[in-house]
């Protein structure tokens, strides 16, 4: 082991309790930083998972206003459109309100064609399309409630009253980690038939249209063409990319997200102050040692390197432990949050930022004491002993 590294290591753990407490602080702060960032990421997961080949058309007035089913054919005729499907938010309750998860009434064949990232076995896809009482669910949702193929899922309608029972015909796996696996999809036709019987005025109405396009670079032009189609009609449309559509939901809670992000950075600043205090105390205690080193012929740079090295060593050990702890904490958090967050994963960027934060904390904490100690007067420093 190189001499200097050995010296840094021995110095770093000279005061075991102090170093241990500093490490605990770092681990807590950096894992909290990682967790908070992951929560923010989870909020944006829908945006991240959006496809650039999908547009969403909704009522220009509000998402709560439906669009006529008759728009389907006109949408298909718009230049640049490769496919059209539609969905209605169902908002049912499974046993209790605490079991929240998104449910959509969709047109099965066209919808699944537009969502190739929902990996369903062919036989399950066919079984779903054939069975009007059937539904498909994401793997995460199925795992949470222990559902399997053939299970009956009763949902108590809130927007659409009554108890609706669906048979699980398929369970999809996401093509990527960011793919949403927390939804339930069932036949829009079943919902519409029921409405025709019970509330005819609400029938043949669509919540949103999902429009497939082949050329993402033309998304803006196609959106404009779609909206132009329905301009001055009773139900004007507002078409945007799926990512913009998802972002509009996130923006509703943007203030909270900004606060969460701010807290995550404040935590890092606090631990930076704690660490700086530790390094300042350490340097002051070793004043005579640094003076001795300088007397022996070591330059100011060597003294600064000793302090920076020690600080970085502690910070990086704390960072690594914090990072390692973030993964099980995030796992436990995700389990506790259930399907509230469709995707809850500590991203590589978050892990990199955690280590970067550790690096910054270690560097900033050592900056002042290193500068100060590298400039100490040898004679004054040696008197510190006496």
């Amino acid at each position: 082991m190189p001499f200097l590294f050995k010296l840094l290591l021995k110095n770093a753990f000279r005061h075991k309790l102090r170093t241990a407490l500093t490490l605990v602080g770092l681990v807590v702060a950096l894992s909290a930083f990682g967790l908070l960032r992951t929560i923010v990421d989870a909020w944006y997961a829908g945006v991240e998972a959006s496809s650039s080949t999908r547009l969403v058309s909704r009522s220009a007035i509000s998402l709560t206003f439906p669009l006529p089913l008759s728009y389907v054919q006109r949408l298909k005729g718009v230049e640049g459109v490769s496919g059209v499907s539609w969905a209605n938010w169902f908002g049912g309750i499974y046993i209790t309100e605490r079991n929240f998860f998104p449910q959509f009434a969709v047109e099965p064949a066209s919808y699944l064609a537009l969502y190739p990232e929902y990996k369903l076995k062919d036989e399950e896809r066919l079984a779903f399309i054939r069975d009007r009482q059937g539904c498909v669910v994401g793997r995460k949702l199925a795992d949470k409630f222990g559902w399997k193929i053939g299970d009956q899922i009763p949902l108590r309608g809130t927007i659409y009253p009554g108890t609706w029972t669906f048979t699980v015909r398929g369970i999809w796996d996401g093509a990527e980690a960011k793919t949403d696996e927390s939804q339930l999809l069932f036949h829009w036709g079943l919902l519409n038939e029921s409405l025709r019987k019970r509330a005819a005025k609400r029938a043949d109405a669509v919540g949103v249209y999902i429009v497939g396009i082949n050329e993402p670079q033309n998304a803006a032009a196609i959106s404009q063409r779609i909206d132009a189609q329905f301009k001055n009609s009773l139900a004007e449309t507002l078409t945007e990319t799926e990512s913009a559509f998802q972002l509009s939901f996130v923006s509703m809670s943007e203030a909270i997200l900004v606060a969460v992000q701010a807290v995550s950075y404040i935590i890092v600043i606090i631990i930076m102050a704690v660490m700086a205090n530790t390094m300042t105390m350490t340097a002051r205690e070793r004043l005579a040692e640094y003076a001795t080193l300088k007397a022996l012929g070591f330059g100011p740079g060597f003294v600064a390197r000793l302090l920076f090295g020690e600080s970085l060593m502690i910070a990086l050990v704390g960072g690594a432990l914090g990072l390692a702890l973030t993964l099980p904490i995030a796992g436990a958090f995700a389990a506790a949050a259930g399907t509230l967050f469709p995707v809850f994963q500590v991203s590589e960027l978050t892990m990199a930022l955690q280590m970067l934060a550790a690096l910054v904390v270690g560097s900033v904490a050592a900056a002042w004491p290193a500068w100060k100690m590298s400039r100490i007067d040898i004679v004054q420093g040696l008197r510190h002993v006496a």
């Binding site: 001499f3 040692e289 001795t292 012929g297 330059g299």
Partner: protein, 236 residues
């Protein structure tokens, strides 16, 4: 004493400290020569300036005026980096309180100054072991300072001062923290280094018995040198 042989030649050296807007003179117009191979004891009452003179000779303090020529080079004109290099190459330090690194073993403490040389790790270790053998601490190489007695710690410090084979060893009250018997052992060692290895030693002490081990005694009174006393003659 021949001027041409002088290892250290001090000319018109003065040092004053600034305290609360006032200049406090500590050393006044010092003229001094130390020959290679001398063992000089600097004595004087507290505040006489003996430690300041030692610090200036060792290159860890800067004079207010005057010259300190070491082998003809005025170290008072050297910049911080050059002075550090000069100390590493030419001066071995022995402090009153040993000033060892508590996290390093005796061997590692002795090896420390060699980090400033081009020696390999293996060579550094060999040199450090040899230095510890010279101070008869070869059986304590892996001990930490807190596992050694005061005398043993000072012997480690002497080994550290020796290991880079400097021309000059400066010792500031090397026995000041030791009991009489241990102090004698340390002085025996210094005397041995001077007589057998020819090391030039400048030692500050307030202890006349310690000073008596030197070959030359220099008195300082209120920052002024009083005439030398040659101890060789008195010892003989």
């Amino acid at each position: 004493m021949s001027e041409s042989q002088a290892l250290i030649r001090i000319e018109g050296l003065s040092k004053a400290y600034q305290r609360g807007g006032q200049q406090i003179p500590v050393l006044l117009d010092i003229q001094l020569q130390v020959q290679a191979g001398e063992f000089v004891a600097l004595m004087g009452p507290s505040g006489s300036g003996k430690s300041t003179l030692l610090n200036l000779i060792a290159g860890i303090d800067q004079p207010s005026s005057g010259r300190i020529l070491f082998k003809g080079v005025d170290i008072a004109t050297l910049g911080e980096g050059a002075l550090a290099d000069w100390r590493a190459a030419n001066v071995g330090f022995i402090f009153q309180f040993y000033n060892l690194m508590p996290v390093l073993t005796a061997l590692e403490n002795v090896e420390l100054p060699l980090l400033l040389t081009d020696l390999s790790a293996r060579q550094r270790r060999q040199h450090a072991e040899a230095a510890l053998q010279m101070v008869r601490l070869e059986d304590r190489m892996d001990h930490y300072p807190n596992e050694l007695s005061g005398g043993q710690q000072q012997r480690v410090a002497i080994a550290r001062a020796l290991v880079s084979d400097p021309s000059l060893i400066v010792a500031d009250e090397p026995t000041g923290d030791l009991d009489r018997v241990t102090g004698q052992e340390v002085l025996d060692l210094l005397e041995d280094l001077n007589r057998n290895l020819g090391k030039t030693i400048v030692m500050v002490t307030h202890d006349p018995k310690a000073a008596a081990r030197a070959r030359r005694l220099i008195h300082l009174e209120k920052g002024v040198l009083v005439p030398d006393e040659d101890l060789e003659g008195s010892k003989a």
